[in-house]
C-alpha cells in the first residue's frame, strides 16, 4: 500500500485545531482574570524552546515517527518502555478530552442525558475519521479550520457592541508569581501537548520544513486562542471569566442582535465539537501508531477500534464528577511534564549524539 502523506500546510491546520482543541472552551481559565492574554503570550514564549526541540527531532529523522526514533536511539528495551509511556499519555489525553467534551455537553445542553451516549457519539465519529487515515484527517482539518475561524470571527463581530475595553484594566495587578504559574499551565495545556505530533511526523511530506510547520501552527493557534480569550474577557469581565467553567459559552450567551440573533451559544459548542473531534482523533492515531510499532504490526487500522474503546473506558472512570476534573486540571501541568519535556529532551540529546557518531 502507498504510504499516506500529508502536506505541510495541512499539518499546520492539524496543529492549530489540536491546540484549540478543548482549550477553546475550558482552557485558559486562570486565576489572573484580565491578564490571561498576557499569560498566553508568555506560554507561547515558553514553548518556543521545546517546540524547537520537537522540530529538531523531526528534522534529524525525517519520515520517521517518534517510536521508530526511540528504538533507533535508545535500543530495543528502553525504546519499547518509552514507546509505551507515550502511548499511555496519548490514550490518557484522548480520554481527558472526551471527558471534557461530555461534561461540557451534559452541563450546558443535555443535563438529563447520561454521559456515556455522548461519549460513544463523539468516539464513533473519531473512529471513522481515524480509520479513514491521516490523509483524510489532513483534508478534514482544512475544512474544519475554516469553519472554526469563521465562527470565532463571527462571534467577535456580532458581540462587538457589548464589549467593554475597561474589562482589561488594570493590567498586571495580580500576584506577580501567579503569572508564570498560569503561563506554565497554559504551556502544558495546550501548547506542549503537540508532542503527540511527533508520533504522526512520519506522514509529513518530505519537502516541508518541520520548523516552519511547528512554528506557524503554534503561532496561529496561539493568536486564535488569544482572540477567543480576549473576547471572553471583554464581554464578561475578569470576575465572571474566573467564575464560569466555560467562559466562551457564557460569553456568547450575551450576543443579541435585534432580538433576532440570540442564544447562538450552540455555535460555540459546534466549535468545541469540531476541534475536539480532531484532537481526540490525533490522540487515538498517535496511540495506534505507537502500538503498531510496539508490537511490530503491519497496519494501525485494526488497532484504532480497540484503542478508542480503551479511551472510552478510561474517560468513563477517570473522574467521578466535574469538580474532580477541574482540580485535576490544576496539577495536569506537573503530570504531563515528563511526557512533554523530559522525554523529548532526552530523545533530542540522544538524537544529536547518534547523528554525531554517524
Amino acid at each position: 500500500m502507498q504510504k499516506e502523506t500529508v502536506s505541510g500546510r495541512q499539518f499546520v491546520y492539524m496543529i492549530i485545531l489540536f491546540l484549540l482543541g478543548s482549550s477553546l472552551i475550558i482552557g485558559a481559565s486562570t486565576k489572573i482574570g484580565q491578564d490571561t492574554w498576557i499569560a498566553i503570550f508568555l506560554a507561547m514564549l515558553m514553548s518556543v524552546p521545546i517546540i524547537l526541540i520537537y522540530a529538531r527531532i523531526i528534522h534529524l529523522f525525517p519520515e520517521k515517527n517518534i517510536f521508530d526514533i526511540f528504538t533507533e536511539v535508545f535500543g530495543k528495551v528502553i525504546g519499547k518502555i518509552l514507546t509505551s509511556l507515550i502511548i499511555l499519555y496519548a490514550i490518557h489525553l484522548g480520554a481527558l478530552v472526551v471527558r471534557n467534551f461530555s461534561e461540557f455537553l451534559q452541563i450546558m445542553t443535555m443535563p438529563e442525558t447520561p454521559q456515556l451516549p455522548l461519549m460513544i457519539g463523539v468516539l464513533s465519529v473519531t473512529i471513522f475519521l481515524a480509520k479513514s487515515g491521516i490523509e483524510v484527517l489532513g483534508r478534514w482539518s482544512a475544512i474544519i479550520l475554516a469553519v472554526v475561524i469563521f465562527v470565532i470571527c463571527f462571534t467577535i463581530a456580532s458581540s462587538i457592541n457589548k464589549m467593554d475595553i475597561e474589562n482589561f484594566y488594570p493590567v498586571l495587578t495580580h500576584n506577580f508569581f501567579n503569572l508564570p504559574k498560569d503561563a506554565f499551565a497554559i504551556f502544558s495545556f495546550p501548547f506542549a501537548e503537540s508532542v503527540l505530533f511527533l508520533a504522526l511526523a512520519a506522514s509529513i511530506k518530505k519537502e516541508s520544513s518541520s520548523y516552519k510547520i511547528y512554528f506557524s501552527g503554534m503561532l496561529a493557534g496561539g493568536i486564535i486562542l488569544t482572540a477567543a480569550v480576549a473576547r471572553n474577557i471583554a464581554l464578561l469581565g475578569a470576575a465572571m471569566v474566573e467564575d464560569s467553567y466555560y467562559p466562551s459559552y457564557s460569553a456568547i450567551r450575551i450576543i443579541n442582535i435585534g432580538e433576532f440573533l440570540t442564544r447562538i451559544e450552540g455555535f460555540v459548542s459546534s466549535n468545541f465539537i469540531l476541534t475536539g473531534v480532531t484532537k481526540i482523533t490525533i490522540c487515538v492515531l498517535a496511540a495506534s501508531y505507537g502500538i503498531k510499532s510496539l508490537f511490530n504490526l503491519k497496519s494501525e487500522k485494526n488497532i484504532i477500534l480497540p484503542v478508542s474503546l480503551c479511551v472510552l473506558a478510561l474517560c468513563y472512570i477517570v473522574y467521578n464528577n466535574t469538580m474532580q476534573m477541574l482540580s485535576f486540571n490544576e496539577i495536569y501541568a506537573f503530570y504531563a511534564f515528563p511526557f512533554q519535556v523530559l522525554i523529548p529532551i532526552a530523545l533530542w540529546i540522544g538524537c544529536e549524539i547518534k547523528k554525531k557518531r554517524l
Binding site: S7, Q10, L105, T109, M110, P117, L118, G121, V122, S124, V125, F128, L129, S132, G133, V136, R139, W140, A142, I143, I144, R263, G266, S270, I273, L274, V277
Partner: protein, 522 residues
C-alpha cells in the same frame, strides 16, 4: 482460510488467462470456399430471420454473397452502390478473378470500406449494421458501411432543461452524440477513442478527451479501468459507472453524468474525460467533484451576479433538503428552548391533538413523499392529473384537517421536497442522508445531527474520484479552482484551469489578458 481464498482467486485468474489465450488461437480464418464460409455463418447465427445472405455472381463467373441484417442497413445503398456496380457497372466485365483489392478500389461506391480476414470480424461487422461481401476463392472479405436504422432525433433533454443555452440533448445513437461534440469542439486534438465492452452485447464505448489538455495519467487510468470490465452486457452508461467508480459502496456518486453536449464539452475542456456509451443519451464524465453537483451551464452563460446568488441558493437548498426534517424533529423533541416563544406557541397549537410523536409524523410524511415521487415517475402520463390531485389534496390538506399531521410538518416536507430538485445530481444521496439524519435527530437531538454531519464530512473527505480528492477545490485548497466552486468568478478572471486538472496546458486564455474592465476603446 484467507490463504485458501487467495489461492482460489489466483487459480481462477490463471484459468481466465488461459481461456483468453485459447480463444485467440481459435480465431478462425476465412476459408477460400464461399459455401464453407456461408455454412459457418449460418451455424453461428442460427436461423435468425433478419440475417440476409444474398448470393449472386458477377464478372466472369465470380460467385459472391452479401450478408447484412434487415432493419439495420440502408437497402438503397446496398442495391445502388454495391450490387448494381458489381453486376452492371461498365467495369464489371473486366473482373475475372476474386481480387478483393481491385473490387474495393474500383467497384464499390460506398464511402467506408474495410477488408478483413477473420470470421469473427465478419460476424462483428454485419452485426453492427455493415454489409459483408464474401467471394468464392478469396480468403478476405469486405466490410462495407451501410449502417442505417431508426433513431430518435436530437431533442431537448427531459431531465436537464435550461432557460438560456443550447437545447440539444444527446440521443441513443453514439455517432449522433460524437458528432454533437465535434460540432461544439472543432479541434483536431479532440480524441474519440472507441472500444467494445460486453461479451454478449458488444456495446461500443467511446472515451473522449482533448489531447494536450487532459492528463495522460487520467486517460490511461480511465482506459485501464474500462479494459478491466469483464461482463457480458452493457445496457446503459450506469453499468459502466458502477464498474469504474472509486467508491462503489458510498452513497455519493463519484462519476458525473449528463444529457447535454455543451456540459460535456465544457468538462472535457477543463481536462476531464468523457465516456459515451452506445444506446443511451447519458454521457459520463470523470473525475467528478462534489461542487460539480451545484453547477449548471447557465452559471456560465448568464451574467455572474445573479448566477452566484442562484448558486448559493443551491447550496442552501442542499442543506435544507437533507437537514430540514431532522432539525424540525430535533428542535420540537429536545430543544424547545431554541424556538422563539411566539413561534413556539404557534407550533404547539398546530401540533395540538396530533396523535403521533414528531419523529413518526415526519417519517410518515417523508415516506408519503417518496411514494408520490416514485409514482410520478412510473405512472402512465395520462393519469398524472389524478395523481397530483390525490397527492396535493389528500396527502396535504386532508391530512392536516383530519388532525393526523400538523401544518408545520407539511410546510417542512414541502420545502424539503422542492429543494431536492435544485440539485438533481445529489438527489439520490440526499434522499438517503435525509433519513439517516432524521433517525439521528430522533435519538440524540441536535448532537446527533452534528455527529452525523461530521461523519458525512469525514466520508466526503475520504472519497476520491480518479485520484482527485472529491472535495477539490475546497480541500486541497486551490485558488484557481475556487473561482468556480462556491461562487463563480467572472469568466475573464478564470484564466487557468483548476490546478492539477491539466498539467500540460493549464491556461484557458492566451497571454493577452482580456479584461473588459480595462478596455481602452470606451
Amino acid at each position: 482460510m484467507f490463504e485458501f481464498i487467495k489461492k482460489r482467486l489466483k487459480s481462477m485468474q490463471n484459468e481466465k488467462l488461459q481461456e483468453k489465450n485459447t480463444a485467440k488461437d481459435k480465431e478462425s480464418k476465412i476459408s477460400k470456399s464461399l459455401k464453407e464460409n456461408l455454412g459457418d455463418i449460418k451455424s453461428t447465427v442460427g436461423n435468425s430471420s433478419d440475417v440476409i445472405m444474398r448470393e449472386f455472381s458477377f464478372g466472369h463467373g465470380v460467385c459472391a454473397a452479401l450478408i447484412f441484417i434487415d432493419g439495420m442497413t440502408d437497402k438503397k445503398v446496398i442495391n445502388e452502390s454495391i450490387i448494381e456496380p458489381l453486376m452492371y457497372g461498365f467495369k464489371c466485365s473486366e473482373i475475372d478473378s476474386p481480387d478483393i483489392e481491385k473490387i474495393k478500389l474500383q467497384m464499390i461506391a460506398v464511402s467506408e470500406v474495410k477488408d478483413v480476414d477473420s470470421m469473427d470480424k465478419v460476424i462483428e461487422g454485419f452485426l453492427a449494421g455493415n454489409t459483408v461481401l464474401l467471394m468464392d476463392g478469396s480468403n478476405k472479405a469486405l466490410v462495407i458501411n451501410t449502417t442505417e436504422w431508426e433513431k430518435r432525433s436530437v431533442e431537448e433533454p427531459q431531465t436537464e432543461s435550461v432557460i438560456r443555452g443550447s437545447r440539444e440533448g444527446f440521443t441513443e445513437n453514439m455517432r449522433t452524440n460524437t458528432s454533437l461534440l465535434r460540432r461544439k469542439i472543432r479541434n483536431p486534438n479532440l480524441v474519440i477513442d472507441k472500444t467494445v465492452i460486453g461479451k454478449s452485447t458488444n456495446t461500443a464505448v467511446c472515451v473522449v478527451y482533448i489531447k494536450g489538455i487532459a492528463n495522460t495519467e487520467l486517460v490511461d487510468e480511465v482506459k485501464s479501468r474500462l479494459e478491466k470490465i469483464d461482463t457480458d452486457s452493457i445496457l446503459e452508461s450506469g453499468y459502466i459507472e458502477q464498474y469504474i467508480e472509486d467508491a462503489p459502496l458510498s452513497i455519493f456518486s463519484t462519476v458525473a453524468y449528463t444529457e447535454k453536449p455543451d456540459v460535456v464539452a465544457a468538462k472535457i475542456l477543463e481536462g476531464r474525460v468523457a465516456i459515451i456509451v452506445d444506446g443511451t443519451p447519458f454521457v459520463l464524465t470523470v473525475p467528478m467533484f462534489f461542487v460539480e453537483s451545484f453547477q449548471t451551464t447557465e452559471d456560465y452563460y448568464s451574467r455572474f451576479y445573479f448566477m452566484n446568488m442562484l448558486r448559493i441558493v443551491r447550496y442552501i437548498s442542499y442543506l435544507i433538503t437533507i437537514l430540514a426534517p431532522a432539525v424540525y424533529v430535533a428542535i420540537t423533541t429536545f430543544h424547545q428552548e431554541l424556538i422563539p416563544t411566539k413561534l413556539l406557541f404557534t407550533m404547539m397549537e398546530a401540533r395540538e391533538g396530533i396523535p403521533f410523536p414528531a419523529f413518526i409524523e415526519t417519517l410518515i410524511m417523508l415516506l408519503a413523499f417518496e411514494i408520490l415521487r416514485e409514482a410520478g415517475v412510473r405512472m402512465p402520463r395520462t393519469i398524472g392529473q389524478a395523481l397530483s390531485i390525490v397527492g396535493a389534496l389528500v396527502m396535504g390538506e386532508a391530512a392536516v384537517s383530519a388532525g393526523i399531521v400538523g401544518a408545520p410538518m407539511v410546510i417542512i416536507i414541502a420545502i424539503t421536497a422542492v429543494s431536492i430538485f435544485n440539485i438533481p445530481y445529489q438527489a439520490d444521496s440526499a434522499a438517503i442522508l435525509r433519513f439517516i439524519f432524521l433517525i439521528l435527530a430522533a435519538t440524540m437531538g441536535l448532537y446527533g445531527i452534528t455527529m452525523g454531519l461530521l461523519g458525512t464530512l469525514v466520508h466526503l473527505s475520504s472519497l476520491k474520484s480518479f485520484s482527485f480528492p472529491y472535495l477539490f477545490p475546497v480541500v486541497p485548497f486551490d485558488i484557481k479552482g475556487n473561482k468556480d466552486a462556491v461562487i463563480r468568478a467572472p469568466l475573464w478572471t478564470m484564466r487557468r484551469r483548476p490546478n492539477g486538472m491539466s498539467k500540460k496546458n493549464p491556461k484557458r486564455h492566451g497571454n493577452f489578458i482580456h479584461n473588459p474592465m480595462q478596455r481602452k476603446d470606451k
